[in-house]
């Protein structure tokens, strides 16, 4: 067994990754077929694949995916529209920071899930309540990362603007915003993950449509294969969103402040 003294090559990652994937899937199928593991526990890859073909084909699952997507998109967009400017304001104006930070820290420590029942009471079982949950889930992460970005601005960069006689507003436009962009992108990635968690939590608990509802519904009827399908789909979505935003993150990595 090798140790970690060489960096990984891409070829190694791909090869071993594939091996790992295939091995686990194979063992899984074999374990159930051979009677080592109950079918009702996690179903089997083959069965999951067949229900996937069925449900995607008949379009049953598409409706749920679309509902979840709507909730995600609206709530997440709202969290960006409110979270980023708020993060910028709190980071840039120390007075605003002092005023609000203790409160926001308290809000952050509250698990969002706990607010779902009251949100449902107020907004019902439909789209609105889910959008609120998604917004709350993502908002804080987006705001805090943006705030961290403003705080991380290299003092030297601000000095440059001041040295040449530029106004504070100019410094904000030409230094603060570009310097914070990498952090805003990170915030988007983390926020998207939280938003996804919000979608799932809200739909599992109180919904009549959506992929989370699909999972809880099929699980209630002991249809493990379909429940697993929904779970796997969420996992894949989470991976894809994360990777796509990561690409964007790397593109702007050079804009991060190198020193303070």
């Amino acid at each position: 067994m090798r140790r970690l003294i060489r960096p990984y090559t891409t070829a190694e990652r791909v090869v071993y990754g594939l091996i790992g994937f295939v091995v686990v899937v194979g063992l899984w199928e074999a374990a159930v077929q051979g009677g080592l593991m109950q079918r009702s526990l996690l179903s089997t890859p083959s069965r999951i694949w067949s229900v996937a073909v069925t449900d995607f084909g008949t379009g049953v699952i598409w409706r749920h995916i679309f509902v979840s997507f709507q909730e995600f998109a609206l709530g997440f967009a709202a969290s960006l529209v409110i979270g980023i400017p708020l993060g910028l304001a709190i980071g840039w104006f120390p007075r605003v920071d002092h005023l609000l930070s203790a409160l926001l820290a308290g809000l952050n420590a509250t698990p969002n899930v706990a607010l779902i029942p009251i949100i449902v009471v107020i907004w019902g079982l439909g789209l609105e309540s889910k959008v609120v949950v998604v917004f709350l889930s993502a908002f804080f992460a987006v705001m805090v990362t943006t705030y961290t970005g403003i705080r991380a601005i290299a003092r030297r960069h601000l000095d440059i603007t001041r040295s040449f006689g530029g106004s504070r507003w100019l410094a904000f436009r030409t230094v603060a915003i570009p310097s914070t962009v990498p952090f805003m992108i990170s915030g988007t990635r983390i926020g998207a993950g939280r938003a996804l968690v919000g979608v799932v939590s809200a739909e599992i608990l109180a919904a009549n449509a959506g992929l989370g509802f699909y999972i809880s519904q099929t699980a209630t009827f002991l249809d493990t294969a379909r429940a697993m399908l929904g779970i796997i789909f969420f996992g894949i979505i989470g991976l894809v969103i994360g990777e796509v935003i990561r690409v964007l993150e790397r593109r702007f990595d050079a804009w991060r402040p190198q020193i303070h």
Binding site: S40, L99, A109, P117, I118, I204, A219, T224, G235
Partner: protein, 281 residues
């Protein structure tokens, strides 16, 4: 020669302010912080009293405290605390105890960690809440299921950072140990283990949020006993918003305490931090 004009750069003028002014300038951050929090609660109380916000939905600070004072006298409340406490405590403890050694083992063996990579990334991207219905299928509606959800939340929060930490071990340190013919066990003990600690601590920070969310969502889903159930029932009853907020407040306090505890651990291990950090918020 032209008669040049000059600009004068003067020194700073120090105004003699009165003591109150000076004190305020020095302590402004704290004053604003306190003012912000106080203003929030006062505003809440006032808008509730004058009827601007719905008392049934939003309650008010005073009502919440009254309800809370009443709750802590009831044995039912303490039973709920015990149930949720056991679920949280047992689930978290077991998850950390299993995840750390497992993470170190996976990270240590190169091929294993590369092979496990897609699965680790997948389970990390998957919202754990999606597993709740499955967990109910496996373990029923009792404390075992809820402990399982807590366990799953904590386990994956710590596993990935641990694997990452082992993989990120500073090559230079390993090279030094090798040049002195250090055994693998020695490398493990003296370089990897201290190096992975900051990663574990950052994983713990994520764990706090995840286990609290886990216990709540599990209790919401299978409404039997526990503080989460208290919140759920209160939310769905008329005129019990104060009890609901009291329950939420308990979890908020748990969250604050949890993050503080991790902060203490973080500062304690600060001196072991390697020069290059690759952690993520």
């Amino acid at each position: 020669m032209t008669a040049a004009t000059y600009r004068v750069i003067s020194a700073r003028v120090r105004h003699q302010r009165d003591p109150l002014h000076r004190w305020y300038r020095r302590n402004e951050p704290t004053v604003l912080r306190v003012a912000g929090v106080v203003a929030f609660f006062v505003l809440w109380q006032v808008t509730s009293d004058v009827g601007m916000i719905d008392k049934f939905l939003f309650s008010s600070p005073r009502d919440i405290l009254v309800a809370g004072a009443h709750e802590v006298t009831l044995p039912r409340f303490w039973n709920d605390v015990r149930v949720s406490g056991v679920e949280l405590g047992a689930g978290t403890l077991i998850s950390v105890v299993i995840a750390v050694p497992l993470g170190i083992a996976i990270g240590w063996y190169r091929r294993v960690s590369l092979a496990a990579d897609p699965w680790l990334n997948f389970t990390n991207a998957l919202p754990r809440a999606a597993l709740v219905p499955l967990a109910v299928m496996w373990a029923g509606l009792g404390m075992e299921m809820k402990t399982l959800i807590v366990f799953l939340g904590g386990f994956f929060s710590v596993l990935l950072p641990t694997v990452d930490g082992v993989r990120t071990v500073e090559r230079q340190f390993v090279d030094v140990a090798r040049s002195f013919r250090g055994s693998d066990l020695l490398i493990l003990r003296s370089i990897v283990l201290p190096g992975v600690v900051p990663f574990i601590v950052s994983g713990l920070r994520i764990l706090v949020g995840r286990v609290l969310a886990g216990v709540i969502i599990a209790e919401f889903y299978a409404i039997t006993e526990g503080l989460g159930v208290m919140i759920y029932r209160a939310a769905n009853s008329a005129d019990q918003a104060d009890r609901m907020f009291f329950g939420i407040l308990i979890f908020t306090l748990l969250g604050i305490v949890g993050y503080e505890a991790v902060g203490v651990l973080d500062r304690y291990f600060q001196r072991w931090r390697p020069a290059l950090d690759t952690e993520e918020a």
